[in-house]
Symmetry: none
Subunit: 330 residues, 2 copies
C-alpha cells in the first residue's frame, strides 16, 4: 500500500502534488481513525456499551430486554418457566441455552402450543459448559439482558421493577441475589453471604457481587467476556462454577465501582424440587462453596488484584407493596 506513494519522480509535478496531498489525506484518515478509535474507550470508563451499538436496534430493542436461560436436565421446569416469563413486560426475546447435549430441543411441542407472545430461540450446545450462557449470541438485539437460572422463579412485578432500576444503572449487574467476599488476616479471600461478617465492619451488611442467575446486565458485558484471559475460561470449565463470580470481577474492573446493585425481591422462589428429573443443581455439591472461595482467590491472581468493591445499597420500589414502606417517624 505505501509503495505507491513512495515512487516519487524527482521534479515537482502536478502529479506529485496530487500524491503529496493524497498522502496527507490518507495520513489524516489514519490518524482520525486511530484517535476516534480511542473515543469509545474513553467512554468505556463510564458506560461503554451504552455508546457503541454494534447492531442497528429497533426502539423496542432499546426499551426491552432479552431473557437468557441456560437449561440442563430440567426440561419440565424450563417449559414452566418459559410460560411464566413469556408474559413479562418489556420482554423482547427468549434465548434458551440448551446444555442437554445430544437431546432433542422441545421446539416442536413449544410451537404446537403457540402462538407465544415473544420469539423463543433454542441455542443447541455441543459441550455442557457453565459458561455457555455467557456467549455474545447473534440473536441478542437488546442492550439489556435478563439472565435467569432454570430453577428460579421471580415475580413479574419484581422483574419489571428491576428492569426500570437497570435502565437507571445500566453499567451495573442489577439483581436479586447478593453475595460477598471477605479478606482474612492470612490474605486469603473467602466467599459467602450474610453468614460472613467483615472484620471491623459496623452496623449492617455489605455485598460485593450480585449473582447473574437472577439479574439484569448490559449485553456489552457478554462481548467483554469473550476478551478475558484464557485462565478465566479454564477456571470456569475446571470447576463448572464461578462464571457469575468472573462476571462480577469483569464488571467491577470495568466500572471501578461495585459490580452490582441489589434489588430486594418481593417474591423469588426456587422451583428445583418441582422437577421430575430429580436433578438437583450444582450448588448442592459438597465442594460448591469451597470452589467459589477458590475461584475468588484464583481470579485475584489472574487479574492481578481484587477489583470487587462493597456496596450496602438495597433498592426497593417506592410505595410498593404499600405506602407504609416509605413512612417514617416525622
Amino acid at each position: 500500500r505505501y509503495f505507491h506513494f513512495c515512487k516519487l519522480p524527482g521534479r515537482v509535478t502536478g502529479i506529485r502534488l496530487l500524491r503529496f496531498t493524497s498522502v496527507v489525506i490518507i495520513v489524516l484518515l489514519l490518524v482520525a481513525g486511530a484517535l476516534t478509535a480511542l473515543l469509545p474507550n474513553i467512554k468505556d470508563d463510564k458506560m461503554p456499551n451504552l455508546r457503541r451499538e454494534p447492531k442497528p436496534q429497533s426502539q423496542s430493542a432499546l426499551d426491552s430486554f432479552t431473557l437468557i436461560m441456560q437449561t440442563y436436565n430440567r426440561t419440565d421446569l424450563l417449559l414452566k418457566l418459559l410460560n411464566h416469563y413469556q408474559a413479562i413486560p418489556h420482554l423482547h426475546k427468549v434465548i434458551v441455552v440448551w446444555n442437554n447435549i445430544g437431546e432433542k430441543i422441545p421446539e416442536e411441542m413449544w410451537n404446537s402450543l403457540g402462538p407465544h407472545p415473544v420469539p423463543v430461540v433454542f441455542k443447541v450446545q455441543t459441550v455442557n459448559r457453565m459458561r455457555n450462557r455467557l456467549q455474545n449470541f447473534p440473536e441478542l438485539e437488546t442492550k439489556a439482558v435478563l439472565m435467569m437460572d432454570d430453577d428460579t422463579l421471580v415475580s413479574a412485578h419484581d422483574l419489571a421493577f428491576a428492569f426500570s432500576v437497570w435502565q437507571q444503572f445500566p453499567e451495573h449487574i442489577v439483581g436479586f441475589v447478593p453475595r460477598k467476599h471477605i479478606s482474612t488476616p492470612s490474605g486469603v479471600y473467602s466467599y459467602g453471604s450474610f453468614e460472613l461478617q467483615n472484620p471491623g465492619f459496623g452496623n449492617g451488611d455489605q455485598y460485593s457481587m450480585v449473582l447473574i442467575g437472577a439479574a439484569f446486565f448490559h449485553s456489552g458485558y457478554l462481548q467483554d467476556f469473550q476478551r478475558q484471559p484464557e485462565a478465566v475460561y479454564a477456571l470456569i470449565d475446571e470447576t463448572q462454577n464461578c462464571d457469575d463470580i468472573a462476571m462480577n470481577f469483569l464488571v467491577a474492573k470495568h466500572t471501578g465501582k461495585p459490580s452490582g446493585v441489589f434489588v430486594k425481591p418481593v417474591d423469588i422462589r426456587n422451583l428445583e424440587k418441582d422437577t421430575n428429573s430429580g436433578y438437583s443443581g450444582m450448588w448442592h455439591r459438597a465442594e460448591h462453596l469451597l470452589q467459589r472461595s477458590y475461584c475468588v482467590n484464583k481470579l485475584v491472581n489472574i487479574y492481578d488484584g481484587m477489583p470487587l468493591k462493597y456496596s450496602n445499597i438495597m433498592i426497593s420500589q417506592f410505595g410498593f407493596p404499600n405506602y407504609a414502606n416509605h413512612k417514617n417517624k416525622m
Copy 2:
C-alpha cells in the same frame, strides 16, 4: 516514518522530506487537537461538577461533607442541632446561614463551650431570604453538601448511610423527603406527596423531587444555582418558598435524569415544637402548598419545559437494622 517502508527515490532531498514531514505533523496536531477537544464535553454530559474542581481540595475534603444549615428565629434549636450534628462521621465543617437579621450570632457562647470536633462558620446575612442558603460559600471546601432545615433531626446512622449513597450517585440529590408533581388534563401541574396519584400509574408510587431540607448534593450545583434566570430568584423571593423545587429543576435539567434519590430514613424527626421561640415554620402558612404548585408551573414557564422525571427507587441499607430486611422467600 512511512518512507522507510519503501525504496527512497533518488532525488527526494532532505529539505523536501523535512517540509513534507512537518506538514504531516502539523496536520496531525490539528486533527488530534480537534478530536481531543471533544472529550471533555462527553464527560461533561455525565457529571460535570465532579470533574471541574475550582478549589484545591484536601483528601479529607473529598471524603467528607459540609453541613449547611440556615436558621431563622430558632437559635435554641440551632444549638441543639449543632451539638447533634457536629459528631456525624465525615463531617468537614458546618456553615450556619444566619437569617436573624441584626441579631448577634451565638459565636461567643459556642466558642466558650468548645472545643468542638469541626469548625462552625456563621454567615451573617443582610436580608432574610429563603435562598440565602444556596450561595456558593467560599468556606465550602468539600464536593458534598449536606443541607438541613433548622428544625429537622436525622439520625447519625441515616446520615452516614446517605452520604455513602451520595458518593455512589454524586450527580443526584440524595435525601430523605421525596415529593412529586403530577400533570392534570388541563395541562396544569400540581405539587404534592403520597396523597397525589399519577393518573394511569399502576402499582406503587413515584417521586420527582427530593427536598434539600434534608439531603446531600454536589457543591457544584450551588455554583450552577448562581447562573439561573433572574425570574427564578424573583419567584423564590416573592414566595419565600420553592428554592428546593428550583434546585430539583436545576439538577434534573443538568442530568436529564430524575433529580433525586430517595433514601428511606430509619429515624427522622421534626423538632419544631421544641423551640421556645414558638416560631412555626413557613410551611404552616395556609398558602404554602398552593404556592409550591404555583412555583412548579412558574418554573415550567421559566425553563420552557418540565425537566422533572419520575423515580420509584427507594434505597435502604443492606442488612440494617437487621438481616431480615433482605431476607426473601427463596
